[in-house]
């Protein structure tokens, strides 16, 4: 009896050991990458002294990039129309075999998916979630998009609110899965892919139109405000060659955005007492020229072509 108990105890200890090592094993490679990258994607040990105010000492610093679904929403709010011809063709998905291509195109297909869903393109939405799943599976992002996700999407295909919720959930799952394993640079590359796709759709929608008083052009110009965040995040992944390649691409875009000056006036804070919604009232202006805009269109097209081919 005692011997039996002793054996059971050993089995329990061994099981605990195996379980603990398995859990830790999922993270160990990530930790190594993290150390090699010298910091996490979003935890940068710098302090912005100018804006520090009363808060003290060492802070964790995060940068939030526009997500594919936010990018699509910004486009829609600016009056964009739907053009299926601008999406990355579904059949391209089988050609993406490297981690870099799969990460970029997970972002690209998720932006396409978001764009289609916001314009109530139900069949396209279903088709694009499938290819996004292929990319996530290829990157071993377990259960970011699974059969239950697809079934839930099919069951609610006419309910846009739920569809957007499903897409945001898949993004959150992918992002958290990668960040928990120290693969922040992959999470950043996915977002850069989605962002470039949004820029591509936006620039193609307005090509040939006047850049004056054009809301989509305004939103394109304002992407300048996110470029530095991307560069900061990619620069942190010094030992990730994929991130460094994408860093060069983003820098090439930055060199064009740097030709545009955006001036922002002071904010006045006005809160509606009934809705409790605050409006930040301010004016802004920029000096975009047709020449610079054309340069931007060419560069975005070039990058996007290289990402989807």
């Amino acid at each position: 009896m005692n011997k039996h108990l002793l054996d059971s105890g050993k089995v329990l200890i061994l099981l605990t050991l195996i379980l603990a090592l398995s859990i830790a094993g999922c993270n160990s490679g990530a930790k190594k990458d993290q150390a090699a990258n010298s910091s996490e994607e979003e935890f940068v040990s710098t302090v912005d002294e100018d804006m520090q105010e009363n808060f003290q000492t060492a802070k964790r610093i995060f940068y939030s990039l526009p997500s594919p679904i936010e990018t699509a929403k910004i486009l829609q709010n600016a009056g964009a129309t739907y053009d299926e011809g601008l999406l990355n063709p579904l059949e391209n998905n089988t050609g993406y075999i490297t981690n870099l291509k799969m990460a970029l195109n997970l972002g690209i297909y998720t932006t396409d998916l978001s764009y289609a869903s916001l314009f109530d393109q139900t069949q396209v939405t279903l088709n694009y979630i499938e290819v996004a799943k292929n990319m996530a599976d290829g990157l071993n992002i377990l259960d970011a998009i699974n059969e239950t996700t697809i079934q839930r999407l099919e069951d609610n295909i006419n309910n846009r609110e739920i569809i957007i919720d499903i897409i945001s959930e898949t993004l959150l799952n992918s992002s958290s899965y990668l960040k928990e394993r120290g693969l922040e640079s992959t999470a950043t590359i996915i977002l850069v892919g989605g962002w470039v796709e949004g820029l591509y759709i936006a620039t193609q929608l307005v090509e040939g139109e006047s850049i004056k008083d054009n809301k989509i052009v305004e939103r394109i110009v304002e992407q300048k405000l996110s470029v530095d965040f991307m560069i900061t995040l990619l620069e942190e992944a010094k030992d990730d060659p994929d991130a460094q390649k994408i860093l060069e691409d983003v820098k090439s875009l930055k060199s064009i955005f740097d030709k545009i000056e955006i001036k922002l006036g002071a904010n006045t804070v006005v809160t509606d007492p009934e809705t409790n919604v605050t409006t930040l009232k301010s004016s802004s202006s920029h000096n975009l020229t047709q020449k610079v805009f054309d340069e931007l269109v060419v560069k975005v097209n070039e990058l996007r072509t290289s990402y989807i081919s």
């Binding site: 830790a24 804006m51 959150l172």
Partner: protein
């Protein structure tokens, strides 16, 4: 002797595994508590959550775009009590401080001009606390309205 070795190894392995489990719990907290609270705003899909200790603070930078209705949600695990956060523009102007709004966890806003904003989050140490500072998950989430 061998049993002691196994026990020691198990203990070390558990110590290594604990942060991963804690991160997983942080994700679940972000999803189940903070994301749900964004409703009727749609979550943008981004994940920003970390384990913070009382007294610790974090900053998040993000570009917000005009013509979009946003909700910022800052949620802390129950053991951390109130979470303080403020929103600061690029000129250093404090646009919102939840300390003056009874530590409200969310802020709804829209902008006339797209701009970068900074969210400063602080986990205060309760007055008179003598015990070791608590550690817990803090999530920062963003939602937008889909009209």
């Amino acid at each position: 002797m061998m049993r002691k070795g196994i026990l020691l190894l198990s203990f070390v392995a558990l110590l290594v595994a604990v942060p991963t489990v804690a991160n997983g719990q942080c994700k679940q907290f972000a999803k189940k508590t903070c994301k749900v609270g964004l409703n009727p705003y749609q979550h943008d899909g981004n994940y920003h959550a970390a384990l913070l200790i009382q007294g610790e603070e974090a900053e998040l930078y993000k570009t917000f775009y005009s013509e979009t209705d946003y909700r910022i949600g800052v949620c802390g695990a129950p053991n951390l009590n109130e979470i303080e956060f403020k929103i600061i523009d690029s000129n250093g102007k404090v646009l919102y401080n939840n300390k003056y709004e009874d530590y409200e966890w969310k802020w709804d806003f829209r902008l006339e001009s797209s701009q970068q904003l900074k969210i400063v989050v602080k986990v205060p140490v309760p007055e008179g606390q003598v015990e070791e500072p608590e550690e817990g998950c803090v999530a920062i989430m963003f939602g937008f309205k889909d009209d």
